[in-house]
Symmetry: C3
Subunit: 294 residues, 3 copies
Amino acid sequence: SVPTGVLPLCHRPPEWYRAPRQPPSLLLTPCRAFSNKKIMVELDESSGVATMTFKSPPVNSLSLDFLTEFCISLEKLENNRACRGVIITSAIPKIFSSGLDITEMCGKSTEHYAEFWRTVQETWLKLYSSNMVTLAAVNGSSPAGGCLLALSCDYRIMVENPKFSIGLNETQLGIVAPFWFKDTFVNVVGHRIAERSLQLGSLHPAPEALKLGIVDELVPEEKLQEKTRAVMAQWLALPDHARQLTKAMMRKTVLDRFIAHREEDIQNFISFTSKESIQKSLRMYMEMLKKKKS
Amino acid sequence: SVPTGVLPLCHRPPEWYRAPRQPPSLLLTPCRAFSNKKIMVELDESSGVATMTFKSPPVNSLSLDFLTEFCISLEKLENNRACRGVIITSAIPKIFSSGLDITEMCGKSTEHYAEFWRTVQETWLKLYSSNMVTLAAVNGSSPAGGCLLALSCDYRIMVENPKFSIGLNETQLGIVAPFWFKDTFVNVVGHRIAERSLQLGSLHPAPEALKLGIVDELVPEEKLQEKTRAVMAQWLALPDHARQLTKAMMRKTVLDRFIAHREEDIQNFISFTSKESIQKSLRMYMEMLKKKKS
Amino acid sequence: SVPTGVLPLCHRPPEWYRAPRQPPSLLLTPCRAFSNKKIMVELDESSGVATMTFKSPPVNSLSLDFLTEFCISLEKLENNRACRGVIITSAIPKIFSSGLDITEMCGKSTEHYAEFWRTVQETWLKLYSSNMVTLAAVNGSSPAGGCLLALSCDYRIMVENPKFSIGLNETQLGIVAPFWFKDTFVNVVGHRIAERSLQLGSLHPAPEALKLGIVDELVPEEKLQEKTRAVMAQWLALPDHARQLTKAMMRKTVLDRFIAHREEDIQNFISFTSKESIQKSLRMYMEMLKKKKS
């Protein structure tokens, strides 16, 4: 059977997170907007739709803290019966998310690499197996891990600006997307497009991303919110139970493969990341980013 | 190895059906058109092409009787060496088939659910693994089980009327397409289109169905017969043996998975269908259909 | 783990081939163009790109000798650190490769069939799992085994002449593409297009091949070389190690399945090919080819 976000986090969650599941009556208690450091979460109880807005300058990079907050927020919504759908989007202009925070992978301890990677896994697992309707409103560039977040949703709407690009560009950094990034990508675009795009580490401008099927539609930036709500309403028109079982059936093969190789994947990440050649690659890439900025 | 329609039916077939396979010479004896209650079967011995025309008013719904007749007719053609290809089509205006007969799933005994589902399975198994060239001439709307019949053929031609739609819309009824409906669909349209279409329970108008790859081509209604014959001739130009082995190879994974989980799938169907919440969903849907009609 | 061209050949290679891997310094020694009987191999050391040009009149058919030479040449390049990419193309006008040499499959001993098939397998395995960037410059028609060579590369550029066609047309000859031809094809074009094309044994003119995704782009014949070099440069811009691991990950499932069924596949080939009905089919096809020529 398909896991649906009930697996334990690898680091200490706040007290409310560990609280036993509340009875239905309490869960229907209005849940006001709450904002932690990096993600603003708002729930519109009339529609049952939550919005998670990334607001972690400068580029919404997926640090350990960001991912931990993402997991906790998503879990909280998952357990809230008043919430049936989630939109993920960004408050940072031109950037949806820049992907995994490379500083978490550079010059740190083995224990840190393990904790970081476990949280990356957990984030994907919770999002990809969510019972809620998940929708990515991609309002900026979205490389690597940022692209993975979008690919893990049920539907992707991107702003039609050709300066915004999206893709799994890991090879450009001298690293390799893990197998479950690949599986998620193949489920969206098919084997051939994934093989070519992953080998070349391509970042596809929005119009090309649409053509390849990486995103489902493009809209002008000013129409993004309206369009996102309309699409969400369309998905919420279906009975939750039938839709959830169908989603679980579609994603079962990829989720099962991940679960079976989860610890192995952490060990692979640690040994790969610990290599001096990889550390050098990542340092060079960070230097390049710094120079680009200045 | 791939089964090719030799598995026993779950209910009593007529005497001729249980007769031992006839020697080749007898099999070449002309087989005149025969019509049972719900499906007209005609075999053109000069071309080796049979046509199975659904004629079960009002909407060719796939009842236990209809499916039993379908299985028996297909098996008979499969064993007739004079027959190399089958066209399935409808004699009911605007409807190809409305899919599984919901009355077979409502307020019946566990034994009835088991018999019904076994026959649904058998129908798909015989059609999907047929050694003959199978062609769907979709001359009307084709939701759910009707769509499955079309998807199980080698090729699908649909009338270009945008009022005719096709799709696996089970979620709209609060139920879930079984895994082998899903596998058949994914083999035709790929994972992404299947995931989205199944979750939304979409019924696609003919032009959209073509774009998504659910059908292979559209023709004006008056050209349907001519086009169907031309396509069939193209497929029959290939040596049977090589074509059959190739087809079996292509469909082996999906057929093997089905065979391995066949009994489990029946148990799932029974326990799901027996739930009061599902019974309620189905009754509401039938009420809605009745109101629509009047 | 994925094999990468280190598996032994099934027949005796020349002395240099069995030599132990040379130390890096020696491997960087310039490797001049060398030409055996059927394939011209040139290595441009400044770019690290080798070109393997098929020059076996009349139609570059894949005989045991041709395939043996192909394996040896590819292995030599694979072990040469100065070589990072390979282009395969043809020196014969209008023909890329006509596919497997049918005379190797007609009226020969069981031992010969086994040796021939093992070499066909080895050729595909080496090419499909190559660590180098592999690029097919398809400058002529490319049926059956010729198509397989192109499909096994990382990228396919075809001359836009609609008289040139490409496809796995085995069923037209009364034979069946083996499962790993099919798997390679499905990875490129997806399940539906492969199912239809393989059953019909279609040879697709260049424009149709582009539309179906069998090739990645079309160019005028006079631009082929320039375009091929530009594409190769794009692929070589990626760090080898990350690109190689990504490629191995993408092709792992198909390679693993092949390895698991390799000997079984040889036995199948022998027993199928030894059948009198198949021998007759192949003789008839050869007669037809002879008549066509004269």
